[in-house]
Symmetry: C2
């Protein structure tokens, strides 16, 4: 069995031995068995607990040896002093993939923790067993409803595969779930980020990779692997522990070295990884890769019902290297026909005088103006501006987005939405699956910029 | 009547002559009379329309002369060629405050527009009449339900007074309404930003000023005024038109000059204005000044249930010059008592092992840990981290926030919340009126930074 095949035992487990499942259930009990039932996981789960005969109607076993099959994966959630014996039991049983949830190993401040971890690793290596953790939430897989975290995890089979040095990412971000599939590598005593990269590389359900990196012992090996994977799938990375203070915290969190931040910056970019600055950018960028096509260039047409926020949109484009296109003469002529004769036209396209002064119906004017922009051969992408003053506006935007996606599939369309009904309008817009709404033009332009940069990177690699 | 008293005619109008109200009502009609009815405006409105006798049950008048009183304010919403005559009618009637909604004056590309504007200004000046606009939404006042915009405007008597060169800000941002009170100065043919500053300076209902600036002819006079006002109330400014391209758009939008961006940066800071980069920062900063007290210094205590996102929080603090405090020995001792004996403790405070390993109840542990942080004499502000995996978490956070606000009123508390139930958890947290939730630690730390910088500015000014 290759290491990657062994990695599938974790993510695609159809059976699990779970050592240290508590009899306590309900709020505050952090009982993962309860969550597995709710997720509808169809695999076999064998809880090991010497003090019970069943938990939540599921038969329990007094020890690992008593479990009636050799499961794909074992999970160990015990006080740290009991973990080594449990690993021995699982190895003796023949289980080839073990998740150690427990803390207090390399992350401990005493000598006992690191020493026990060494023993576990030595045992695992000598028997061809993979260990994930310790100090981990383990893994999650939305397509099978399998998750080893002791908190309830919101999953969504959205094509995101995440690799993380914290279980916090399992909770997901505001606008996106990071499970898809997810692996918390924890303290990386054995299974490391490269193993996870190689799993996702071959996994057809994963379209985009999300990486959370605090630090690692062998960055060179990681960079070689991620350079290869990033040619196949976009890899978006949040590298944390930037400051001196937070780098210290990294070391006490997982025992890893954070490394010099500026070196990471260069190395990641060079390996084709899209590095993001914060979790908002992580979320925006993942959503962009899941939804939008890459623009052929960086020239944007902006459409707005307000001159003032058109300027704000232009500022946002400029900030992220997206250029406001100069329209062709033919487009300019058509725009003039839409506007009062005394009004200057250009990019951004302020179509509202056509409605408020010339009396044209709003939704139709928006559609006509956006079509003009998209038709212009110089336009690579469009940014729409809309004040979300009523939820119903989202219906018109959704119609527009569908038509544009149908007629101009190679030109991504994003929206900058502001106002009290942002959430409702965005939800309707994004229900089309073809466009995204952002609360600032900077974030919209940044998403386009990342799509463009990746396309540039891939074409440079092909030219080599 | 002083100019500031005259400005009150606009904002605090108890009667309005409205020239050019359409008989059309309902969706797509952009009829402001309809909105005024919905807002519950209690003042008198006299629509002028020669082709009707009533609109929405409100008696109309064939011309301005026929209106039975000299109203506080007149609004003119007519095709541009009819505006000058309407201004003459209003001036003849004795109205001292006129709002010109119509476009096509200094913002037009022809010669006719600027020429008509000159005539209007000359007439107004010679008769002591103030003109707001043209090319404006006019004014809005949440406390009286008065608004002259032709779109429905979400208002909230929240203490925000805004001055804007676009009506788009009337719609508000995602997390905050900018009406409070609002003035769209439009093309500033007469009433300018200084007039508006002086109105808000004396207005007791306005606690924080929001400025949207594209450009202006007399920046020196503005800077003198804003320097004075910023000593009394926080002034948060978004200066747009940063790039060459968007500065061009400014000129065609309102005929104003955008000016060199870096000069604005220095000049605004020097005048005590808090300049923000984008509308998200505008929203966050206004909310901070409305809700939080200023920290005495820049030392932050971070509390987190996850080491990994504690590091992300530390990165966020570092980015905005907020320092992770080194706790006193006494705090450190108490933190050690809360944690397993092998766990390193410090700042950020990861309290979750106390729950997951030692079995302490979560909500009580959070409260105890936050109280420890707040009690530390070195701590100026606290940043909490919480994964919003269920809406109910917000109830515990709200309880915690209330206790902290009661016992530590001088130490602001902000939260970094992430996960699928962000909105619900934040709403519960913020319902306390004492703290704010942010979707990234960077934004939380930035809000603290702005509070701190303003406090620093004020104390430097006092020392002079």
């Amino acid at each position: 069995m290759t290491r990657t095949e062994q990695m599938k035992l974790f993510l695609d487990a159809s059976s699990m031995t779970a050592v240290g499942i508590s009899r306590r259930t309900g709020p505050g009990s952090y009982n993962l068995l309860e969550h597995l039932v709710r997720y509808g996981y169809k695999g076999s789960v064998y809880p090991v607990n010497p003090n019970s005969s069943e938990i939540l109607g599921i038969k329990t076993y007094p020890n690992v040896a008593a479990v009636p099959e050799v499961t794909d994966v074992a999970l160990i959630s015990l006080p740290r002093l009991s973990v080594l014996q449990a690993v021995k039991d699982c190895v003796a049983k023949g289980i080839k993939a073990i998740i150690i949830i427990s803390q207090g190993f390399a992350d401990a401040e005493d000598e006992e923790g690191p020493r026990m971890q060494d023993e576990i690793v030595t045992l695992a290596r000598s028997t061809g067993t993979l260990i994930l953790g310790p100090n981990t939430f383990g893994v999650a897989n939305a397509s099978t409803g399998f998750c080893t975290a002791y908190l309830p995890i919101p999953m969504d089979m959205n094509g995101v595969g995440s690799i993380s040095q914290t279980g916090a990412t399992f909770i997901g971000l505001n606008d996106i779930r990071l499970v898809g599939k997810a692996i918390d590598v924890g303290d990386m005593c054995d299974v490391d980020i490269v193993d996870c990269l190689e799993y996702y590389e071959q996994d057809d359900e994963t379209r985009v990779l999300a990486l959370h990196i605090e630090g690692m012992p062998n960055a060179k090996r990681f960079l070689e692997a991620v350079r290869r994977v990033s040619l196949k799938k976009p890899v978006v990375a949040l590298k944390t522990g930037r400051s001196g203070r937070s780098a210290q915290a990294v070391q006490s969190h997982t025992g890893a070295l954070a490394g010099r931040d500026e070196l990471w910056d260069v190395a990641l970019r060079d390996a084709g990884v899209i590095r993001v600055d914060d979790i908002e950018e992580l979320s925006d960028t993942l959503r962009a890769f899941l939804t939008l096509s890459a623009p052929r260039g960086n020239r944007v047409g902006v459409m707005t019902p307000t001159g003032g926020f058109g300027i704000i949109a232009a500022d946002g484009c400029e900030k992220h290297g997206m250029e406001l296109v100069e329209f062709t003469d033919s487009t300019m002529e058509s725009l003039r026909a839409l506007a009062p004769e005394w009004l200057g036209v250009g990019n951004p396209v302020d179509y509202f005088p056509s409605v408020s002064i010339m009396g044209h119906p709003r939704a139709e004017t928006e559609l006509a103006a956006m079509r003009l922009i998209m038709t212009d051969e110089r336009v690579d992408a469009a940014l729409g501006v809309m004040g979300a003053f009523s939820p119903e506006l989202g219906d018109d935007l959704a119609t527009l987005a569908r038509e544009m996606a149908r007629d101009f599939p190679d030109k991504p369309l994003v929206y900058f939405l502001y106002g009290p009904h942002f959430e409702e309008v965005r939800a309707k817009l994004e229900s089309t699956g073809t466009t995204l709404g952002f609360p600032t033009p900077e974030r919209a332009a940044r998403a386009l910029m990342h799509l463009r940069r990746r396309a540039d990177y891939l074409s440079r690699q092909q030219e080599r």
